[in-house]
């Protein structure tokens, strides 16, 4: 089965890292096929950014999103821009600290979208004490709500991806997101 996920936000939030971890978990540790792609502007930080991962138990030809199953919005701009790409009955995960779900309420109801709220920024800042791990909290929430990757694979991919010395904070961030 093919599943497609997009994470949208702005540059500097670690959206790309979140997508790489999901792709790596699926590909190397869950033994599925995975392709991760991204789009970004020429700015280093602050511009609109999106990252997509396609996961399948079959070989993946077209690497981009065709029929978006899961959309994760980490900025309100991304939420409004991409909500229309989410398929009917799809899954939306938002960080209520950086998005306003009321802006897309009509669309959610019209298309029977399932919504999960994951206050990744708040958890990262207050519980972990490090705002920059909000993306890893979100990976935990994505793993929990969508089961697109297994928690063991997610943790192996996190340990394989984060800078040495930051493993404990990142695993704690994942666990916090996964226990939502």
């Amino acid at each position: 089965m093919r599943r497609e996920i997009r994470i949208g936000g702005f540059g500097g939030q670690g959206i790309l890292m979140a997508g790489v971890i999901i792709g790596k978990a699926a590909s190397l540790f869950d033994n599925n096929e995975a392709v991760q792609t991204q789009s970004y502007g020429p700015e280093a930080r602050g511009g609109a950014s999106k990252c997509e991962v396609v996961i399948s138990d079959h070989e993946i030809d077209y690497p981009k999103v065709q029929n978006l199953d899961i959309f994760v919005a980490m900025s309100n701009e991304a939420l409004i821009k991409y909500i229309g790409d989410l398929r009917d009955n799809g899954t939306l995960i938002v960080d209520p600290g950086t998005t306003d779900i009321e802006d897309v309420r009509d669309h959610i109801e019209a298309h029977n979208i399932t919504v999960f709220e994951a206050p990744a920024g708040k958890i990262a800042a207050e519980d972990i004490g490090l705002l920059i791990v909000a993306n890893i909290v979100m990976v935990g929430a994505i793993t929990k709500f969508t089961e697109i990757i297994t928690p063991d694979a997610a943790k192996e991919a996190i340990l394989d991806s984060v800078p040495p010395g930051t493993e404990d904070k990142n695993i704690a961030a994942f666990e916090a997101g996964y226990s939502l």
């Binding site: 790489v20 590909s27 190397l28 096929e33 392709v35 690497p63 981009k64």
Partner: protein
């Protein structure tokens, strides 16, 4: 040890270069190719190699030509704007028969165009960008694994035929991450050096076209010039025969070995009404679209060209014989299309999906074209 990694295409390219024995990278960073330089800047010193950031792309091409004559497998990576600047030295590399690998991660163009968006607008520049007659070898990967594999093959072909080889990727394949398997038992072709300096001629008119290549400073007194040269390498610019012999040998050593160099993949082309042809990243969209069309009962096949140059004309002619229609997909306004049209127009109508703007053509766009063309 065989390694399995989930990495970006450009990183896979750098790892392929290291595996193939590349020990010098000279370049000037440019989006969307920068990760090739970044990875090699970190990794080359660990294996005794050198990384040089040059002042521009003209100098980058010059540095890798010089390094190759020093006996070191060498490469650079760039995008369209840099590839344009390299063209003068590329011609020099062809006439001096210098093995080098140049990676062009194509982006929207002309000029500085769209730095972070994909395109295939340089595929004719790879063929004809420098002046004069020459026969480039060009490899075009569609996946991260192929980007690794084709980079290794680029170095092997460069050594085997003592010639520049281009790896033409694009922003999609360059930045996409996928699993890549790095095997240990890859065939690596080493630099073939002459055994003795006695009676040695570096540009001899040998039958297979390719001479062993000495390295500067290792006892061979040789002269290397961009001027038309005799078998010793000395300028001989006013004898028509010298020029004809030299340039034809340089071209023929590629053209006479197309069976060895050309690489294409064909699926379901026998008895197909429609054959879809592409290369590079849009192949990924093409395969999905062809599978979807086949599910609708259409007799459609596809050809994936791994080596746009030298152009695999005989294979494409044979594989499209049953088709009434051929659809070419390119991320430009039609470049390789005209080469394909030249080959198939005696038996099929040719159609073009010309996608520019930076995004891959979608499977649905291709499927719509297949339905529109109909076949027969």
């Amino acid at each position: 040890m065989t390694e399995e990694l989930f990495i970006q295409g450009n990183e896979a390219c750098a790892k392929g270069a290291l595996k193939a024995g590349c020990r010098l990278f000279a370049g000037y960073p440019i989006t969307p190719s920068t990760e090739v330089a970044e990875t090699l800047a970190k990794e080359l010193p660990k294996v005794g190699g050198s990384f040089i950031q040059m002042e521009d792309e003209i100098a980058s091409a010059g540095a890798i030509i010089g390094s190759s004559w020093g006996g070191t497998k060498s490469m650079t990576a760039t995008s369209g704007p840099g590839f344009s600047l390299m063209q003068e030295n590329i011609g020099y590399a062809f006439i001096t028969e210098t093995p080098i690998v140049i990676v062009d991660v194509q982006r929207g163009s002309p000029s500085t165009g769209q730095p972070t968006m994909a395109a295939q607008g340089d595929i004719m520049q790879a063929r004809w960008g420098s002046h004069g007659d020459y026969e480039p070898i060009v490899l075009s990967p569609s996946s991260v694994q192929e980007y690794f594999d084709f980079t290794v093959r680029a170095f092997n072909l460069a050594e085997k035929y003592r010639t520049p080889v281009f790896v033409m990727s694009d922003e999609v394949v360059g930045h996409m991450r996928e699993k890549v398997i790095i095997r240990d038992d890859l065939e690596i072709i080493p630099r073939v050096k002459p055994e003795s300096s006695e009676n040695y001629l570096p540009f001899r008119n040998v039958k297979n076209g390719t001479n062993p290549m000495p390295a500067f400073g290792q006892g061979f007194d040789i002269h290397v010039t961009g001027l038309t040269h005799d078998e010793r390498g000395y300028p001989d610019t006013d004898d028509p025969k010298t020029h004809e012999t030299l340039v034809k040998r340089i071209c023929d050593k590629i053209l006479n070995n197309k069976d060895d160099i050309c690489d294409i993949v064909a699926e379901d082309t026998e008895n197909a009404d429609i054959v879809v042809i592409s290369y590079g990243a849009p192949v990924r969209s093409m395969i999905t679209a062809v599978k979807n069309a086949q599910a609708e009962g259409k007799k459609v096949g596809y050809i994936k060209i791994n080596t746009p140059w030298p152009f695999p004309d005989e294979q494409i002619y044979e594989l499209t014989k049953s088709a009434s229609d051929v659809i070419v997909i390119e991320m430009n306004l039609g470049q390789l299309y005209y080469e394909i049209d030249r080959v198939v127009k005696c038996h099929a109508n040719t159609h073009l999906i010309d996608k520019i703007g930076g995004l891959l053509p979608t499977p649905n766009e291709i499927l719509a074209k297949i339905e529109d063309v109909g076949g027969n």
